[in-house]
């Protein structure tokens, strides 16, 4: 059974089409990335899955439960880490987690709550009021709240925005372990290197539509091209190379070629022009290139 199944989901906010007929299946146990620029519809899709918004058309299921008809089962199956750093200022960390657990009907959940407090490095702050926590600590509590009812599907909406490196690494270690234990993870992030390192499959959204959907490896493979970063003396690009020119980074010239065979052509052209090479770097395509290419193509 798929963890998430979205069929022709659409949602409008006034004149804006936030989602425009999105269909998507995420299998159980996947680590799935949802990428796209701001306003692409990522958070809208998450809101529809979580029941925070209602779709205008189409259907959405979590672990086989329709998010409207079987909303109770669907919400039990889903843990969401919201993008906004929200908290209830009346309570301590432990109270917050016990209350959240209680909402799901799990009132004797203390052992698991203690475990997630420990795993997310919140032990020292467990009895501190939420107001007194730093931003990074509050983010950890948000993650803990999403996990408190042990949902099989976990959605993280930009969980590492504004989070320091140490927490980010600790968080990903924990999330990877959860994924290893069978939890389905759906991640949205602006850090593309994170998505590249973590996600087995990726969907890219733009203007409420899916514009690319494939395994991360295939997306990278399918992106044709190698980039050369080079510093020359004199600085001017030889005439034969102008059509490869893809931009500059300070004194460095960026050249875009189709494949490694063309790298040889570029080097030959440089030699023929009698230009000296001061620096040279050959760059593999990364997810950012794929992202930029896909977004431009649309």
């Amino acid at each position: 059974m798929p963890a998430i199944e979205v069929r022709q989901a659409s949602k409008r906010y006034g004149p804006v089409r936030a989602l425009d007929g999105v269909s998507l299946t995420i299998e159980s146990g996947e680590f799935f990335g949802l990428l796209g620029p701001n306003g692409a519809g990522k958070t809208t899709l998450i809101s529809l899955l979580a029941g925070l918004a209602r779709a205008d058309g189409g259907s959405l299921c979590v672990m086989g439960y329709d998010v409207v008809r079987d909303y109770r089962c669907a919400r039990r199956a889903l843990g969401v880490v919201p993008q906004e750093l929200v908290f209830d200022p009346f309570f301590t960390v432990r109270e917050t987690l016990r209350i959240q657990s209680g909402y799901f009907g799990m009132r004797n959940n203390h052992a698991w709550i203690d475990e997630i407090i420990e795993r997310l490095d919140l032990t020292e702050k467990a009895d501190a009021n939420m107001r007194s926590l730093s931003g990074g600590m509050k983010r950890r509590v948000l993650v803990a709240q999403a996990l408190v009812h042990r949902p099989p599907v976990i959605i993280l909406d930009e969980p590492t925005a504004g989070v320091d490196v140490e927490l980010r690494q600790g968080l990903w270690k924990f999330i990877r372990e959860l994924n290893g234990a069978g939890h389905t993870i759906v991640l949205t992030t602006h850090y593309l290197e994170e998505a590249e390192a973590l996600c087995g499959r990726i969907a890219m959204l733009k203007h409420g539509r899916i514009v690319a959907l494939d395994e991360t490896a295939n997306l990278l493979k399918g992106f044709s091209g190698v980039r050369i970063r080079v510093r020359l003396e004199p600085d001017d690009l030889p005439a034969q190379l102008v059509h490869y020119h893809a931009g500059d980074e300070g004194a460095l010239r960026l050249l875009q070629v189709q494949d490694y065979a063309q790298v040889e052509e570029v080097l030959a052209a440089i030699r023929q022009a009698g230009v000296r090479v001061l620096e040279l770097e050959i760059l593999q395509a990364d997810l950012e290139d794929v992202f930029v290419q896909v977004m431009r193509a649309q």
Binding site: F87, I99, Q100, Y103, F104
Partner: protein, 251 residues
């Protein structure tokens, strides 16, 4: 029902943690009303035979405090959660509209009853007030708290900003409570205003509650009970409808 109990517990804990502001302060306010009004108006004739003006004032003040605090509880909890965004933690859960409504309203009833009882205990130290029909008094206290709790749920869902909620409180709740015969018997009003008072549902809550103490009221208690129960049903239905459709909560 586990989720319901937790939400109720959270709502109770929320006001209990700031009880100085949510319980002690309104009791003090009611006490000030009693001292000032009873002193200023002590020369007034008895409203019911053998009942001093000060004694007459006590149940009305207790009910007024109960109603205003019940409203404040559910409405402020919802608007704060909406504005700070932490309502999402409730909206993400399997809680049904009925469970949410009951938890918010019951917590409002508990806060209202706590404040109302506090006002009664403190003011009864100062003046003798009979309690002739306690069952009627309790029935009207619970229903009044429930009605204002439900109104708080509706206002908390409807308001987008604190000043909209304050407007609801200042232009609806406070006038209706002050004009409900807390400080006077509506029989002392001119005919037109007597009729107008009978259109105010808060009048029936106060009058029915007062009947529980003095065994006398401006209208028979069954009439008041009918009006109050009808309001409770109507507001419950409206609250459940808003929660079920996700009005202003789920886009």
């Amino acid at each position: 029902m586990g989720g319901f109990y937790t939400l109720l517990y959270k709502e109770l804990l929320r006001f209990w943690k700031v009880s100085f502001q949510t319980i002690a302060a309104p009791i003090l306010t009611a006490l000030l009303y009693l001292l000032i009004f009873s002193h200023a108006l002590e020369s007034r004739a008895e409203i019911y035979p053998g009942v001093s003006y000060q004694a007459f004032l006590v149940p009305g003040l207790a009910m007024m405090s109960l109603l205003q605090n019940a409203f404040a509880n559910s409405s402020s909890s919802l608007i704060q959660s909406k504005i700070t965004g932490n309502l999402v933690f409730v909206l993400l859960t399997p809680l049904s509209p009925l469970e949410m409504f009951l938890a918010y309203s019951l917590a409002a009833v508990v806060r209202g009853l706590t404040v109302g009882l506090g006002v009664l205990l403190v003011t009864m130290l100062l003046t003798d007030v009979p309690v002739q029909h306690p069952v009627w008094a309790v029935a009207f206290a619970v229903l009044g708290g429930g009605i204002l709790g439900a109104m708080g749920v509706i206002a908390g869902i409807w308001a987008d900003k604190f000043d909209q909620l304050a407007a609801f409180q200042n232009f609806v709740i406070i006038p209706l409570t002050f004009l409900a015969g807390v400080f006077y018997s509506v029989h002392s009003l001119p005919e037109l205003w007597q009729r107008a008072s009978h259109l105010n549902p808060f009048f029936y809550m106060v009058d029915g509650f007062r009947y529980g103490f003095f065994g006398a009221g401006d209208v028979p208690p069954w009439v008041s009970l009918g009006v109050v129960a009808g309001c409770m049903l109507g507001l419950t239905a409206l609250s459940l409808r808003l929660l079920a459709t996700g009005y202003k909560l789920r886009h």
